[in-house]
Amino acid sequence: MASARLKGMGSILARQGILIAFALFLLGFAAFSDNFSDIDNLTQVIRQSAIIGVIAIGVTVVVISGNLDLSVGSMLSFATVMVVDLHDKIGPVPAIAIMLVAVLALGSINGFLVGVLRLNSLIVTLGMLSAIQGLTLIYSGGQNVDIADQEGTWFSLIGRGSFIGIALPIWIFGSLAIFLHVVMSSTAFGRRVYAVGGNPTASVFSGIRRTHVVFASYMISAFCVGIAALILGARVGGSQNNVGQGYELQVLAGVILGGTSLLGGSGTVLKTVIGVLILGFIQNGLLLLGFAYYVQWLVTWVVIILAVWLDIAAKRGRLLSPIA
């Protein structure tokens, strides 16, 4: 068992290693850029990370249960377009309600296909990515939508307002993150999600309704997309019909960086928050240092692979893989 303990320590070290490296990153940014450590700048980063963050914590639940959800980007487009469009037509409250219902309906399709029919979640959500993208275009008729009188509606506050000095999106992100974290770590449901992700067979043998758990996880993911759509639509006051394109990648990158394994059964919502923030700060730091916005993609490439590699290496006790 000594080797197991060493491996466990190694894994913790690897994880701390990432955080230490990240801390050094931050110090470097702060040193080389005047504006980085500005409080305004830091809060702006967190605010900008809120949308991806809200989606990422929902996707985290799906990932912990052992599945993937690649449809979140398209769902975001759909939901944002719908809520913005309906806002002027039937008023903000009905618009929000209908959008949430629609998004949950989409989530339930995912939940049914993966949970009940047991289809592969990668391919299913890939197909849904495509289908929902089409749905968005059908709904919007290919047009972009916007809210006519953005200052005159309380809806915009969701994206632009603040409460005791902290931007509302941060409040929403923070409280949702805490809520989901508590659900995952302290409720029976959360425990079951970890079990299903850790060993689906053993969880069935232990009397867990695997189908229900998977279905619920996709509903949660969809709900989070709905909330993110509120923030996005409110902040921008309008929406292009492909606004969410590519979000699923950023979200996945955040989840992976945070240390949650794509195999399921481990990880936490808070870790994802950290992962998303890391990505946000990398982007921000690089921008402030004068790099073009796409340089962050290169950095993310290296960081993701390094982070997962070190994690795996720590668990197996050797740096390189033993495959011939």
Binding site: M1, S186, A188, R191, R192, Y194, A202, V204, S206, G207
Partner: protein, 505 residues
């Protein structure tokens, strides 16, 4: 039997193999002549598989020597062993479904011409040659996934014959074969023998051993017990060699009169898996199910737990007929199953000890919406003390515990459900002697507290020690039901080998 050479094809001398905590092989000798079928017998855990893995280069012996045709050899790995003419045919097949028979037989050694193109004519010709030797009537081009298990086994054997094999080891080859397929296999084995190979045939099945082998050797608890010429011995003598220990193995004395019938099964069937199974279990008694791998015992347990849908028959709980729709239903009716494979079915290895133990009832351990930490820990503490589970803390991931402690966690998990009927499948598989005894005592205690317990086991001393009554199964059917005190070791072995009571002398 053909003429034997002076020098044996294979000789193992003083093989010792230890794993952490257990001495699996204790100075084993074995001698196999060219042109003979040499059976290797022993109970589960006697060391047969370990010995053969040492021979095939999968394990390195701590002590001892291997001689091939008189020359001392080292087996660095399976490919090395194969190159020297020693081939092991496993129980689990290692074929690639998407490829043809020929491509599997010559996996990694496909003949090729320039530019890396496979030389199909050579490949098929050589493979068909081997297949002909084995009397297989399928073509080398057939896709492996299209073949029956028996034929896939032939492909596995064919793979072994790409070299000139001097020693071929068969490890429980008939586990998944029908009687007709077995006949074909035996012909193949006899043919190999007649061509001069030395065959080692590992099996539990007496009928096969006495039909096929020329000589037989017995291992018991890792040591070599002797070799006999098959024609000069009989089942009883061999059984004696296998069991050997004093027959009075602390026969348990039941202090409690069995109570009402908790579970009754009448004529239960599930397709081809098991047929017409009937038995009953009373409160306060332990019913042991004994049989070979594939006899159908676990499948019955899974059906009782709602994991399989029966195709016929009835299940009665407390006299009432029930239909069990799934594990959730089974649990709510008071049935608990400690499954066969604790790592794959019984535990979530990455979760803590406590969380694993409370999993089935996590929904009930809540105050408001939150899981009650205190209630969980108290359950864990209770069963940790009762079962003497050794773990640094409840937070320890279950995957880090020893096998024995892992098993105790699974048992504790289900005991905490306070079941009406407790089914324990292979309670001490892969567990060392000390923990074994504890778990056996625990099962006896459970019975005296009034639980109705079913124990499924492949280890005879265990089933005899722990059960009040024993049910022997073979090939999906109950061959014999022994009443209290009726069972003897000899009659049990015969029953699980398919020998019905009428046949016994």
């Amino acid at each position: 039997m053909t003429e034997t050479n002076q020098t044996p094809a294979l000789r193992l001398e003083g093989i010792v193999k230890t794993f952490p905590g257990v001495r699996a092989l204790d100075g084993v000798d074995l001698e196999v002549r060219a042109g003979e079928v040499h059976a290797l017998l022993g109970e589960n855990g006697a060391g047969k598989s370990t010995l053969m893995k040492v021979l095939a280069g999968m394990h390195q012996p701590n002590e001892g020597r291997i001689f091939l045709e008189g020359r001392e050899v080292q087996m660095a790995n399976p490919m090395d062993a194969k190159a020297q003419g020693v081939v092991l045919i496993h129980q689990e097949l290692s074929l690639c479904d998407g490829l043809s028979v020929a491509e599997n037989v010559y996996l990694g050694e496909l003949p090729y011409s320039r530019w890396g193109f496979v030389d199909w004519s050579t490949l098929h010709a050589k493979t068909n040659e081997i297949l002909k030797k084995l009397n297989c009537n399928f073509d080398a081009r057939t896709r492996v996934s299209d073949l029956s298990i028996a034929r896939q086994q032939m492909v596995e054997i064919a793979r072994a014959l790409t070299v000139d094999a001097k020693v071929v080891v068969f490890d429980e080859p008939t586990a998944s074969l029908t009687d007709a397929e077995k006949v074909v296999l035996f012909d193949v084995i006899r043919d190999l023998r007649d061509r001069g190979a030395g065959i080692v045939y590992i099996s539990h099945r007496m009928d096969e051993i006495f039909a096929l082998s020329d000589r037989l050797s017995v291992l018991r608890d890792g040591s070599y017990r002797g070799t006999k010429v098959t024609a000069e011995t009989n089942e009883d003598e061999v059984t004696q060699m296998m069991i050997g220990r004093s027959l009075t193995h602390e026969k348990n004395v039941s202090t409690v009169e069995p109570g009402a019938i908790a579970l009754e099964v009448r004529g239960l069937s599930c397709g081809k898996l098991f047929k017409d199974v009937s038995f009953e279990v009373r409160r306060g008694e332990v019913v042991g199910f004994y049989g070979l791998v594939g006899a159908g015992r676990t499948k019955i347990a899974e059906t009782l737990f709602g994991l399989r849908r029966p195709s016929g028959g009835t299940i009665l709980l407390d006299g009432e007929e029930v239909s069990i729709s799934g594990p959730v239903d089974a649990i709510s009716r008071g049935i608990s199953l400690v499954p066969e494979s604790r790592k794959e079915q019984g535990l979530v290895l990455g979760m803590s000890c406590r969380d694993n133990m409370t999993l089935p009832q996590i929904g009930d351990l809540t105050t408001g919406p939150f899981v009650s930490n205190g209630a969980e820990i108290s359950i864990y503490d209770q069963y940790r003390d009762r079962l003497d589970i050794r773990s640094p803390s409840w937070r320890q991931a279950v995957g880090n515990l020893s096998g024995g402690n892992q098993q105790k966690i699974v048992i504790g998990k289900w005991l905490a459900m306070k079941p009406q009927v407790l089914i324990v499948d292979e309670p001490t598989r892969g567990i060392d002697v000390g923990a074994k005894g504890e778990i056996h005592k625990l099962i006896r205690d459970l019975a005296s507290q009034g639980y109705a317990v079913i124990v499924i086991s492949s280890e005879m001393p265990e089933v005899l020690h722990v059960s009040d009554r024993v049910i022997a199964m073979y090939s999906g059917e109950i061959i014999r039901s022994f009443g209290v005190g009726e069972v003897t070791e000899d009659s049990l072995i015969q029953a699980i080998s398919g020998i019905r009571p009428e046949k016994a002398a």
